[in-house]
Chain length 378, copies 2
């Protein structure tokens, strides 16, 4: 009976229209009804990626698309560079190491924002021709400036994990010359998990080495998609949901979504600070998908999250790795408005009081609304 609130940075809440589409009767993936949905979803993905290149769609978690990038772009033993500043940068390292690559780690502390000039210098020094990075590092709330990173790495291929940022934060794939983008369905695209995407610039297609692995072979998937088919039976229900969600996102406008996320980030930060909590994620507009706060002294972070969930039905995300118990994360990716931020802040405030923390009461939500009201310069 208790209402449940999902404020994790993935999976994220899915609009009822999308859930309803998921419950439609199954259709054959090669029939004309589905082909129409599939063709439209693929075309809408290109709009969201802001690319004219095909966007490859896989039935898989987002990590499947990351795996596919390494399996299709890199030859055995090749030197690659990975920018790391959190759990998802570490995932690139783990994938590259599993493929036996010579991995040069360009490492930042968790919570730091990668610096484009430093990354460019390190890449030039190493001679790596492929660079992996993370646009939104959901473990810390840091959003990297991938346009600057692409400028800094020059002719090296830049592979951007945009899983938690696509549709929330600007990503001009073609205009910025981003070589490869991977994404997933369960973040700002407002769908359940289970679909992964990859786009790569037309120039890259000619020089792809032989893919390692079969299921994620980019050439096979591209060839099938060219005739609006899928290489293997696709997750038809999820793709129906994706089509509906992308229609909603594009109908309201992608720029409006970016502005909304910026304002949601402002609202969340203002509320956190108003309570007297310390932000862990950057205190500026760069950070608009996940707001991360330090757990106040005297409170056990694991207990705080358990209390929020079991007492109030509110699910936030804990810290990952070495940050476990020290921070908590409020995701506001995708189907979120300012009233969701108000609910999350109010629940945090109430729970901290119930756990005996010494915080400022009764101001967080008001400050959040005020911060949200300020227009964003476009």
């Amino acid at each position: 009976m208790e209402k449940q609130y999902l404020f994790t940075p993935g999976p994220t809440p899915v609009p009822p229209q999308v859930l309803a589409a998921m419950a439609e009767p199954i259709v054959h993936h090669r029939g004309p009804d589905f082909r129409l949905v599939y063709e439209r979803a693929l075309s809408r993905l290109q709009e969201v990626f802001r690319t004219n290149a095909p966007v490859l769609l896989f039935s898989a978690s987002g990590t499947g698309a990351m795996d596919s990038a390494v399996a299709n772009l890199v030859s055995p033993g090749q030197r690659v560079a990975v920018v790391t500043a959190g759990a998802f940068g570490e995932r690139w390292v783990a994938i590259c190491e599993q493929y036996g690559l010579d991995v040069q780690r360009i490492a930042y502390e968790w919570g730091e924002t990668p610096n484009a000039d430093e990354v460019g210098g390190a890449v030039a020094e190493s001679g790596a021709r492929i660079v992996f990075c993370t646009q939104s590092e959901t473990s810390t709330g840091v959003v990297s400036d991938v346009q600057a990173l692409k400028g800094a790495v020059g002719s090296a291929v830049l592979v951007v994990d945009a899983i938690s940022s696509l549709g929330a934060v600007p990503l001009e794939t073609d205009a910025w010359g981003i070589d490869v983008v991977v994404a997933g369905s369960q973040k700002a695209l407002m769908c359940p998990p289970g679909l992964a995407m990859a786009s790569l610039s037309e120039a890259l297609w000619d020089d792809l080495p032989q893919a390692r692995g079969f299921y994620f072979d980019w050439r096979r998937t591209r060839k099938a998609q060219e005739v609006f088919d899928a290489a293997f039976t696709p997750a038809v229900s999820l793709i129906r949901g994706l089509d509906v969600a992308l229609g909603m996102l594009l109908g309201a406008g992608l720029d409006a979504a970016f502005e909304r996320h910026t304002r949601l980030g402002r609202a969340a930060r203002a509320g956190i600070k108003a309570m007297g909590l310390e932000l862990f994620s950057p205190d500026d507009d760069s950070s608009s998908v996940v707001t991360v706060a330090r757990v106040p002294d005297g409170v056990d972070g694991t207990e705080l999250l358990r209390h929020l969930r079991d007492r109030h039905g509110v699910t936030l995300a804990p810290g990952q790795g070495g940050l476990k118990g020290k921070i908590f994360r409020i995701g506001h990716i995708g189907w979120f408005d300012v009233f969701d931020i108000a609910a999350a802040l109010a629940a945090v405030e109430l729970s901290l009081v119930e756990l005996g923390a010494d915080i400022e009461r009764g101001v967080a939500v008001t400050r959040a609304f005020e911060a949200y009201e300020q227009r964003v310069a476009v």
Copy 2:
């Protein structure tokens, strides 16, 4: 407004209860609510696989599980044997070749049933230590006797593609000593496509080589599942649906499902023959998941299927590869009863008459009901 009938051998119709579960609000994959569903679904999968070994669950199409078997079991350049008798045997070959293996093809004509003694002899002669086969070859309607195949290949590892057979045809993974089984959600498990599974015997775990690829690394997935976690954000909606569907399947009893499929196959064959059509799939109880008929002379097979679909809302499957236009396939896998067979037969009969074929009218459905009524010896 027109009702739609899906009689393809995958995706297959999904019960409304499962579709409704798919539309439930998204929950966090690490929260206690989902963990309960996940744990139960994994345990139910073991019951359906009839194994005590863990069943690994991937967010992917069935082909992803096939890929995972090759990526985890075989070392580069190793000799393997593949039993081929249709499109899905060819898929094993394609996967093995993409991994650069030395593939010994034990080839049968499409429509033939592999002979265990012949397969055993060919495997012994080749010295292959890993053998890939297909339990239900949906392209032809042939179901192989995988118990006999395991007996014939002796100590070689037998990998069974049970994607379209699991839950429809007996598969005693542990009792028969089947080393590896791969399956998918969208056939007899009565779910939408998007989930893939693999089980392997405990004895195999110790000697696994380093996995090629990251996403489908069996060790990583097993380690996560041991604490009822997933290695990567799983397709929570599909897994909820799977849990409901497996509950229905096991609630009615797996043996009852096997018997039902046997009787559905009898009914479909009796009806096809009563119309005066020629069966392409074997005319015996071995073939109980897909019934395949030859398109009668004077009728264009592609036109027949288009007519069925566009005029009557009935989707059957065409022939694949060299059989395109020559055969049509009626899937009766999963959520099917005898009235579905009656509807499929009636639609085929009506369409053939409308297309001017000279067939026997008015007897197919009655013969189907009669054949269905005979009890199956257990």
